[in-house]
Symmetry: C2
Subunit: 485 residues, 2 copies
């Protein structure tokens, strides 16, 4: 490497702090909206609260899906697909469940030009319809465990929609499992939390999460325990990124799922359900984005390296294409940007907005000296390297991006996490980050006080940050308090 | 190979011609339903016409999706995702489109507990909502071609549902493209037909298809030309397996999509749309299935080889596991069946029903002689092979299954395809297969006569079977007539 300069994109419109976006400090929600639009991640759909996921956003989702799907299958799940439409009466079979979801339902009353005898609900989640099938499929302990996952769209009518974070329709995976014992169900819910969700969020997306369980107030409608992963976004607010529920026997009793144990006795099995959604794309934007746009971890970048021809010059194009093919041969997702009829600065800003981890700039002046320029997105650093070393340097950079993004996010979160006692101090701290409060100083009453101040207990954990065991006394636990999306 | 016997499964319940199923000859629709159920492909959902795709069926779909998705991306498409809910008013913007789809719509009238101001339609197809986005995204000729694909669920209210073939909700991909010229749009529609659909159906699924275009009567609602792939099923009936439409400027005019050409003039672009669905799983069942169940081409088999331990014996299990790991190392999808507490015949019947292309039976008697048994599903042949040769033999068998299934299907179709003149003879022939009739002997009047006899023109082609060019006189073409699913 022969030099190490700060990036100059040559494109700084007036009226903005930096780049083309409102700065995060000035107006985080406005910045978020602008990034989503400028990086061409998504648009609002014509029906309120719906979302068009554009190709760049969808390509991120495809990569995330593949990472999750592989881990979900490794955990023993098989994918399947259950209907979008659920008879309205199914929802009523589990009392807490219907109470939780009724206000958010979309209801189909007409089909094929006629009024339906029984209205059908567009699934807000699929516990009811999947358990209806489980009741038919499960007879014996030999049928257990049953571990099913589906990738699907679900609908929850949103009054305050926000792209990726709260949309009337969203895409997700939802896992549903059936086990012979409570212990096995709990263990499986935790296996998904740790081996699928936390691992993907931390190792693949570079987003550190705090894990714990929800208070009774925040629990999933119908669950006996909800485990959660909570991330801190760039404004200090909390985002619930994924949940894994122990359902106890609530649904097996409501839907009449029984199995004959090895003594021939009929038993109600124990269940779990768990899901993550396109909300994770919102998490990527808010956890890693800077005032210049997205910063994508390579594993989730539709393009890991863009090779940019600075000018339309035969030698430049030849070298750019050769680098492209070397990088592709090394298994990288690469794109050639040879749109030399557009300004170079404008093109650079575009790739920066889209969060491409590395830009490789090939220009005649550099080439004359046997060099190309590597631009590292997450640090906004430029380095000139010898042409022959370019692929190796790119490889080295891509190898460290995710860990560096994660370190930065951990540092940010740690600086904004404060131990306090009692709800008032917690609400103060939660205006900029996370408060850690002993549950014994809070309790359900303190939780109500927090709610009045717009805060929530994101999760309960052991003082050392570990997940609580069934044997832990509630008063020995610590509440993580924040303002949530 | 040391022997070559017919398969004896040891499990033949009374009252059935062979195996566990109603024979295809006795009652094809009944056989179809039984295979779907016995192979655990799908169940009926609780809302009429909906379908639960079970893990075995969904795994086939995942393999098919991957094959299609790769080819669709190779054709230049990017994946995206558009909303499930479409404002009712959108449908009305294209006159033929609304006329075609209105009778099949599911309508959401209530959301979030309130009556909606404007009802929303659950997408029956996404031309309208996607073109609404295209109108925002497209300004200049530099934005063209725009080539978008989405994987999604769609809903068309079905009065006579049948699993996979006609379901109220189904899964599919739908491509939507925008081009600067009519020629380019036509070329693209044909590229998808040939390079994606016909290639996947023929080379991957082993199902031969006849390709051509639809008559005006059978055209997609809103298209100016519909290209189609038609397969012959095991009862001689036709199945429309995929369509690719030229939409002309119908939707660009209806949705106000315009681009500035290189002279700065605003122009309406030319469009295509194209789709295939979970119906293809029904095609696999009906084109290749026999009286013993499914016969899957290896590329679409969730398990290509099942290694069966005949008995619970240490050496048997050791060899079975070693074969499993050798096959897995060779890149095969394999499963070990060591459920030796279930009867061997019953297990064999189960794998046969599920259509696993090769069973590798490891038993103590064979092993004593240094052999294992390879059972080839599509031919129902057993061969004993030396243990050391087993992996190579399996490889050889898997390498020829698809071509042999295709040859068999081509032979069947050819034997049931007859050239005739006029609608009456065509209707006769169509009771058992395809009739080829000069369009000049048929025309729109003949087509109406066919409709009265329950037949349709599946497609029009050149006499040599090629696709018609725009310059071909209609009267020079040949109609393929059949009874359709």
């Amino acid at each position: 490497m022969t030099s190490d300069d700060d990036v100059a994109t040559g494109h700084r419109p007036t009226g903005r702090a930096k780049g083309t976006l409102t700065s995060r400090e000035t107006d985080f929600p406005q910045w978020y909206q602008e990034v989503i639009s400028a990086a061409e991640l998504a648009d609002n759909g014509p029906v309120r609260g719906t979302m068009v996921i554009r190709p760049w956003g969808y390509a991120i989702w495809e990569l995330l899906q593949a990472e999750l799907d592989r881990r979900i299958k490794d955990a023993g799940a098989e994918n399947a697909y259950f209907p979008l439409f659920i008879p309205e009466s199914f929802l009523r079979l589990e009392a807490d469940h219907v109470e939780g979801f009724s206000p958010e339902l979309a209801v189909v009353t007409h089909g094929g030009g006629r009024l339906l005898e029984e209205p059908v609900v567009v699934r807000p989640t699929s516990e009811t319809i999947i358990n209806h099938s489980f009741a038919k499929w499960i007879q014996s302990h030999r049928d257990l465990p049953m571990i099913i996952n589906q990738w699907a769209n679900v609908v929850r009518w949103e009054l305050r929609p926000r792209l990726f974070l709260r949309t009337t329709e969203f895409l997700w995976q939802e896992g549903h499992t059936v086990h012979a014992s409570q212990e096995e169900a709990r263990e499986f819910a935790l296996c998904i939390l740790r081996n699928v969700y936390i691992e993907t969020m931390s190792e693949v997306a570079g987003i550190p999460v705090l894990a714990g369980h929800k208070t009774a107030r925040e629990r999933f409608a119908g669950a006996v325990q909800t485990w959660t992963c909570e991330g801190m976004m760039g404004d200090g607010k909390a985002l619930q990124m994924g949940t894994s529920h122990e359902l106890g026997q609530n649904f097996s009793r409501a839907f009449g799922i029984q199995y004959a144990d090895d003594g021939g006795q009929l038993q109600y099995p124990w269940q779990t359900s768990w899901g993550v959604s396109t909300r994770l794309i919102g998490a990527l934007v808010m956890a890693h984005g800077d005032d210049f746009g997205l910063r994508l971890p390579p594993a989730l970048a539709p393009v890991e390296v863009v090779v940019m021809a600075v000018r339309d010059d035969a030698e430049v194009i030849r070298v750019a294409e050769s680098l492209l093919s070397d990088l592709r041969a090394a298994g990288r997702r690469v794109r050639l940007d040879d749109r030399t009829d557009s300004g170079f600065g404008r093109r650079s800003v575009g790739w920066e907005l889209k969060g491409v981890p590395v830009r490789l700039e090939v220009g005649p002046r550099d080439l004359g000296e046997g060099n190309v320029t590597v631009v590292v997105r997450h640090q906004r650093k430029k380095v000139q390297v010898r042409l022959a070393e370019a692929v190796a340097v790119v490889d080295e950079v891509l190898g460290r991006v995710t860990a560096e993004l994660r370190e930065e996010a951990v540092g940010f979160r740690d600086r904004r996490t404060v131990e306090v006692g009692g709800p008032r101090a917690a609400a103060d701290v939660a205006s900029t980050g996370f408060a850690l409060v002993p549950w014994s100083d809070l309790g359900e009453e303190g939780e109500r006080e927090l709610a009045d101040a717009g805060c929530t207990v994101r999760c309960l954990r052991r003082p050392d940050g570990g997940l609580a065991e069934a044997s832990d006394a509630p008063d020995s636990l610590v509440a993580v308090v924040g303002r949530a999306y």
